[in-house]
């Protein structure tokens, strides 16, 4: 079943249909929220708030348009609002909460360091570049979809992705040098 069909059913009050939309897009929404907020709990709360807002506004969604950017725009706004609310609070690095995957202590430490550095590198990017990069490279979204989610022209998204990638590659190259 397509997103638009599920959204139509949800607009008629079918909570199960909305639950399926949460299943489909919840993890991508979580990654985008984490790219904005860094703090795990704040990001998860923001996704929850965003999903709740989307559920309440589902009857205003136009099924003729793609659902994913509509939902992500609500979640991103929820995350940005949360960030504004917690502006003064210093975010903790995400590293300690990541899954271990059964690696040995050395590899584990290396993987944790890499993640920490990636998150730290992401944090140095301007907010919209960060979101665009995550949606484009991690989620495989097209420029047009990201443009719709962020409410900016497509060319601006291309520019965000270009600059964000350049900065990230520079950071990761210096990290690789340091690990040798």
């Amino acid at each position: 079943m397509e997103d638009a069909d599920l959204a139509r059913a949800a607009a008629r009050g079918d909570a199960h249909a909305f639950g399926r939309l949460v299943d489909r897009h919840g993890i991508a929404a979580r990654r985008a929220a984490r790219a904005i907020l860094r703090d795990d709990d704040d990001a998860d709360d923001a996704v929850q708030e965003g999903m709740l807002a989307a559920w309440r506004a589902i009857d205003r969604y136009d099924p003729a348009r793609p659902f994913r950017p509509w939902l992500m725009r609500i979640v991103v706004n929820a995350a940005l609002d949360a960030r504004r609310r917690h502006q003064v609070r210093r975010a903790e690095p995400i590293g300690e909460t990541l899954e271990t995957g059964g690696l040995g202590p050395d590899r584990l430490a290396e993987a944790a360091l890499l993640r920490e550095r990636i998150v730290a590198s992401l944090a140095t990017l301007p907010e919209r570049q960060r979101i665009a990069l995550v949606l484009f490279d991690a989620e495989g979204w097209g420029h047009a979809e990201i443009a719709a989610a962020l409410g900016v022209p497509e060319g601006t998204v291309r520019s965000y992705v270009f600059h964000a990638r350049r900065a990230m590659r520079r950071e990761l190259a210096s990290l690789a040098e340091g690990m040798r």
Partner: protein, 113 residues
Amino acid sequence: MMEHTPFDHAPDPELGALLREALTGPEPEAFLHRVRAAVTTRDDQWDVLERWARPRVLAAAVAAGLVLWLGVRQLAQPELDAGVMVASNRASTVLSSQPPSPDEILASLWESR
């Protein structure tokens, strides 16, 4: 001018994998379950509140209307009392041996209209 390369038009799989790994977070299934539960539970709570609130809002509106009506009626009461005063003033003017003041004449003329 900004330099875009053909590689910028497609996702970078390596960078994408690193970002996904760094940002996904623990227990994605449990997270989705939490969000689903929170959304439907909180919505149920809103429904319950809405159902509870509707008749009570109506009752409150009726009570407010009654209070408003009583208030307006209370404010109108002194005017009725003033009317009684004017009527008795006219009677006392007729019975009095003193000549009436211009105000009393005007009041009695106004009342007789």
